[in-house]
Symmetry: C2
Subunit: 261 residues, 2 copies
């Protein structure tokens, strides 16, 4: 059981704080720039004190998790005051370990690979947690905490973590925007987005079962130009950027699969 300081009160901090306590650790400090947000999160935890000051010099916590936006991370770490020999662990997918480096403390990374929404509960057990530190004892402690929360703990260095984050953006963020376009097309024509739910689930299942390159279907892969031309002419009634995406994907899918055969 570790005593923990939690810096941040956004989506990641909420889920992280609750999962830490569920795993038996004690979150004793919660920081947010906004007093009321710090207080709200502290209330959801067992024994946490809220604060809007970054001075934890007198805290009993030995590990401080920094769950703030990527933009704010450097400034928050520079202003942070913690006891000597504390571990400072940031939770960013993109930033290097060095961003958590500060005099007389040990840097670490604790990156849960998941998309968090405040009111949607999530089971940490199945979330991959990527950890890193250049200090062996700190890495051991961070690993112990990660393993107490999740079955999937990976030691991954900063360079790889950045690539993992990039892969996640292609796979999840960008796909979600394609879902947005699909939904817009359907709703403009009085059809519900739910029509596609079963097909999306099957697409995802197949991608992980057969691997996505083996699961690819559609007119672009078949090089079925008559269908592609028909779709491009329909797309003239929609935002021109959608047509740009359709053309890009059709030619990239065709070329990718031509190379494979």
């Amino acid at each position: 059981m570790y005593k923990i300081g939690l810096v941040g009160a956004g989506n990641v901090a909420w889920h992280l704080g609750i999962a830490l306590e569920k795993a038996g650790h004690q979150v004793i400090n919660v920081y947010s720039r906004h007093w009321d947000r710090a207080q709200q999160l502290a209330q959801a935890l067992l024994a946490a004190k809220p604060t809007n000051q970054l001075d934890f010099s007198n805290s009993e916590a030995e590990i401080f998790f920094i769950a703030v936006t990527d933009d704010a991370l450097a400034e928050v770490v520079s202003k942070l005051l913690v006891p000597e020999n504390s571990i400072i662990a940031h939770t960013s997918g993109t930033h290097a370990l060095s961003l958590a480096q500060k005099k007389k403390t040990f840097p670490a990374v604790f990156y849960p690979l998941q998309t968090f929404t405040k009111n949607k509960p999530i089971d940490f057990q199945n979330i991959p947690i990527c950890i890193e530190s250049n200090h062996i004892e700190s890495l051991d402690k961070i690993r112990t905490i990660a393993q107490s929360m999740s079955n999937y703990v990976y030691e991954i260095n900063s360079e790889k973590r950045q690539l993992l984050h990039l892969a996640a953006i292609f796979t999840c963020n960008f796909s979600n925007f394609l879902f947005t376009i699909g939904k817009d097309i359907l709703e403009k024509n009085e059809m519900p987005f739910e029509l596609l739910q079963n097909l999306v689930n099957e697409t995802v299942q197949k991608a992980f079962l057969l691997s996505p390159e083996n699961a690819q279907t559609g007119p672009a892969k078949r090089g079925d130009n008559s269908i592609i031309q028909k779709h491009l002419s329909i797309l003239n009634q929609y935002p021109s950027e959608w047509k740009t995406l359709y053309e890009q994907f059709s030619s990239q899918i065709y070329n990718y699969h031509k190379k494979l055969t």
Copy 2:
């Protein structure tokens, strides 16, 4: 219970034939250009005779399902010989009802909205089936068959079906290609694609629970330029088309969500 002729022996025909029999119908003819394929599928069914000829003039079937590629559909229908007053139902997402039109027969569309793989069993009960006919009795029969197989039967005209197919291509085909890119980035850096499985599942769940525009996250939505520039510089080591996609998505996501706020 209907007696059915099945024209085609590819993925759609396999799943359709098996689901038809499971729902209590009798597939009595199976056609493929390739005799052995017709025979294989006929063997998987209870009482079907294989053939590589399109002459069904003496068949007892009253409904003929055409499950061939979009390219081949027109030619197959034109060569098809069936008894007078038969229903000819094509299974294409893109082609109009008129493609199933032929003298002295009734045209219909029976489009199961799903991606089929031969050796992966699939539960038809949850697959949306889109039906259409311009002949009331034929539509009734097609509806009866569809409802005997699936809980989700929709009467959708040719124009809307084409738009549904287009939406499915954005949502599923193109997303699957993004999965391919994500997997390639990971595997080139010795990380398994499975790292992303939990995140992809959660992304899909959230898209249908909250709707995709509300579920959008990531640097593009936040307008976080420092991360975007970092990713673009990493992408210089990868196929230039990936960078094109990254730039397109980042600017489209940013603009789409700027308009919403």
